[in-house]
């Protein structure tokens, strides 16, 4: 086993375990922390695939900004640990449905034609920021600008919603 493969499996296991713990944790703060760990492991995958820019952006934006925001809100709520009792059957049904989906998707895709093609690891220029930047500001400049408008509207929306009604 090459180092790449060991890393790959380790990061995958970490991601899956963290994700499961996100769902299972009773305490919402713990869920947030596990989710941060998940993001870190996914960023590790990005680095493995040499998508450096995205790895860093993932950490900064997701784990850094978004999850902190979540923490703020959770602490604002001052939630108690235990949730009120949920209908057990619905939980079972949910798990089963999700499990079915997993099984079906895996079964559907395991025989796909492109299955054995390789995703390039450790190499490749396209993950580098210079190339990404060039593509972003040449072909995709319009979506880029519009995304700024999107942020503006999200900010306005958040402020409007959050105002105490008067």
């Amino acid at each position: 086993m090459t180092v790449t493969e060991i890393l790959f499996w380790f990061l995958s296991a970490l991601a899956v375990v963290s994700a499961i713990n996100v769902v299972i944790s009773k305490n919402p703060v713990f869920s947030v922390l596990w989710l941060i760990l998940t993001f870190f492991s996914i960023s590790g995958h990005y680095i493995l695939l040499n998508a450096q820019f995205l790895a860093v952006v993932n950490i900064i934006v997701y784990a850094g900004a978004i999850m902190v925001l979540f923490l703020f809100v959770i602490m604002l709520m001052n939630l108690n640990n235990a949730e009120t009792k949920k209908n057990k059957w619905l939980k079972v049904a949910g798990v089963i449905a999700g499990g079915c989906m997993l099984l079906v998707m895996i079964a559907a895709l395991k025989d796909a034609d492109t299955a054995q093609q390789l995703a390039q690891t450790k190499e490749g220029n396209i993950g580098l920021i210079s190339y990404l930047g060039k593509a972003l500001f040449n072909e995709y400049v319009v979506p880029f600008e519009i995304s700024s408008v999107l942020f503006l509207s999200a900010m306005v929306g958040a402020v409007v919603i959050g105002k105490k009604g008067d």
């Binding site: 949910g94 449905a97 079906v104 998707m105 079964a107 559907a108």
Partner: protein, 634 residues
């Protein structure tokens, strides 16, 4: 003129429409004029046609109106047949019908205009259907008339529809008629199957080639229809109950015309019956049995109309006896004379009832001889005619039947003669209790007793004249040789009665003389005995015992029918209603409704408003789509 034969049924139909639709707007006299006038117009046209038919060498003509039913190779046109038999019946129906219409204008004058118009419209409709019956050129048109007269009988018996008992009587008449009609209908179907047509001329032409079994079946089924319509055993019990209708209705429908439809039908089908001797035998026996049974019941009845009703049943039995022994002309002759004197009897009874202010029990009458002179004389003449005293019409017609019966089988003659004696007895009992002796009614009634108005007495007189002289068209041969005449009716009807040649028997003249003398003597003695017995009748409450009670209670035949037929049918209906309808069909239908409601209730829970449930459903459906897309649709 024969081309215009369709006018004959058309006039009464127009009268029916006018009176039926316009009765609220018309005055009573106008209604009466329209109703009677239409029948009079038909009578005039019938006379003109009759004069044409009378000529020597007249061939039956078929007037084709329009194609009625056509499929495959079977064609049943709406056609009318004009020949001697139908011309004769036309005269009887329209003539007697007109007199009864005239009588009704006075008899029914107590009704208000709307009901008065209803009465006349029904009466006109009845005449229309009866004319259609006798004019039809095939069995299907005859059946239309057959059904129609049954319907009108129902409408008219239940004329005073607010009375439940009358309604039940009307229903009874209609239902018993329908039972017979089933036989008629099956016979028509068989006929079409066998001969490919229902038209008289075609059926009679092909009849000799058909098997005897088929002919016997068809004729027996036709006779079954006749038992219903003409009140023979076993379907006769409706006729006495039909007396619930107004008296002119009883006169027209249940004496002179509708009940003779069966006789007409068998006379028309004489070719078929002559080829099926078994059926003829059945007809004769049934007729004779009915005649005797009805006569015994009439002996003990105390309602004037009931006596006449049973008398009608009895006389119809004689007509069927005549048909059964092959004396078709004799039977038709008796139809004619019976129409005269029975209508007269009923109208006279109506006059009495009118004078006695709706009293119908003869035990409470008596001594009306001086108070109702015209009614009395005409009634007496009718009684003499029906009893069979010469030279009145009933004598000739009844004796023609009895002589033919003797030729067939002497036993039939002797039993028939016994029935004739019973007839004489109960008729003169009726006469004596009604008109002779002293008045047994209340003082109130005695005060109001008066002769009826002219509109009622003129028909009585005309019918009385016909009852007296009507017999002379059918003198038996023993007189014809002396007088140089011949049997006009026989001669007139012979082209239609081809079947009669084979089966009518004759007796030699000496025997005929003896038989005639015997019958006249016996009947005469019976009349006098009966009149004497009852002229001094005192009203008594003692109920008759033994056989008398059985006779008074109609031999409990109605009760028998009730137990055997009506109760099981009611039980069956109850069973179907409670078990099959309520538990089966209702449960099923209601169950469907309940199931829908239940599933709706359950499905409503799906819309809980919980977003979580919705998402679950989304995921589930996504999974299902995946499965379908990737695995099932390879």
């Amino acid at each position: 003129m024969i081309k215009l034969v369709y006018l004959i049924p058309l006039f009464p139909f127009i009268g029916f429409l006018l009176n039926g639709l316009g009765r609220r707007a018309m005055s009573k006299s106008l209604i009466g004029i329209v109703g009677s006038g239409m029948v009079l117009a038909s009578f005039v046209v019938s006379l003109l046609i009759f004069s044409e038919v009378r000529q020597e060498g007249f061939q039956p003509q078929t007037i084709h109106l329009f194609p009625f039913i056509q499929f495959d190779s079977i064609s049943i046109p709406f056609a009318l047949q004009v020949d001697q038999l139908s011309a004769l019946f036309l005269l009887i129906i329209t003539g007697v019908g007109f007199l009864i219409h005239l009588y009704s204008t006075a008899y029914m004058h107590e009704e208000d205009a709307s009901n008065y118009g209803r009465y006349f419209s029904y009466l006109n409709l009845f005449v229309f259907f009866m004319l259609l019956l006798v004019l039809g050129a095939n069995y299907v048109i005859m059946f239309i008339g057959w059904e129609g007269v049954g319907l009108c009988s129902y409408l008219l018996i239940g004329y005073w529809f607010t009375n439940d008992a009358y309604n039940n009587a009307a229903k009874k008449a209609f239902i018993m008629n329908r039972i017979g009609d089933l036989g008629f209908l099956i016979a028509v179907f068989w006929m079409i199957l066998q001969f490919g047509s229902a038209t008289f001329t075609e059926v009679f032409a092909e009849a000799p080639e058909a098997s005897t079994a088929a002919l016997t079946g068809i004729t027996l089924l036709l006779f079954a229809g006749a038992t219903g319509k003409s009140a023979q055993i076993p379907l006769y019990t409706w006729l006495p109950d039909a007396m619930a209708g107004p008296t002119p209705v009883s006169a027209l429908i249940h004496a002179a015309t509708m009940v003779t439809a069966g006789v007409y039908m068998i006379a028309r089908s004489n070719v078929l019956y002559s080829l099926a001797p078994i059926s003829q035998y059945v007809v004769a026996i049934a007729g004779l049995a009915t005649a005797i049974l009805a006569a015994t019941i009439a002996l003990k009845q105390n309602d004037i109309k009931k006596v006449l009703a049973y008398s009608t049943v009895s006389q119809l039995g004689y007509m069927f006896l005549g048909l059964g022994v092959g004396a078709y002309v004799g039977a038709v002759f008796h139809v004619m004379t019976h129409a005269f004197f029975k209508a007269l009897l009923f109208l006279g009874a109506g006059s009495v009832i009118h004078a006695m202010h709706h009293e119908q029990d003869i035990r409470k009458m008596g001594g009306l001889k001086k108070r109702l002179p015209i009614t009395h004389i005409t009634f007496l003449l009718a009684c003499l005619a029906i009893a069979g005293i010469p030279p009145f019409s009933g004598f000739f017609s009844k004796d023609e039947i009895l002589i033919a019966a003797y030729a067939h089988n002497p036993v039939l003659y002797w039993i028939g003669l016994g029935g004739a004696l019973l007839t004489a007895f109960y008729m003169f009992r009726l006469y004596a209790m009604t008109f002779l002796g002293s008045f047994r009614g209340t003082a109130e009634q005695e005060h109001h007793v008066h002769e009826s108005p002219a509109a009622m007495t003129i028909p009585l007189v005309i019918l009385a004249v016909l009852s007296v002289v009507g017999g002379f068209v059918g003198l038996p041969d023993i007189f014809n040789e002396k007088l140089g005449t011949h049997h006009y009716l026989d001669h007139f009807l012979s082209p239609v009665m081809q079947g009669a040649d084979g089966t009518a028997h004759t007796v030699d003249h000496s025997t005929e003389y003896i038989l005639l003398a015997v019958s006249v003597l016996a009947i005469g003695i019976t009349c006098i005995v009966a009149a004497n017995m009852y002229r001094r009748y005192r009203y008594s409450e003692t109920a008759p015992a033994g056989i008398g009670r059985a006779m008074e209670n109609k031999w409990y035949v109605d009760e028998l029918y009730d137990a055997i037929i009506v109760r099981p049918l009611k039980w069956l209906a109850w069973f179907f209603n409670s078990v099959i309808e309520k538990l089966g069909i209702d449960a099923l239908v209601n169950g469907v409704g309940r199931a829908v409601q239940y599933s709706g209730r359950q499905l409503r829970l799906l819309q809980s408003g919980q977003v979580g449930t919705y998402v679950l459903l989304m995921v589930v459906s996504l999974v299902i789509f995946f499965i379908i897309e990737f695995f099932i649709r390879k």
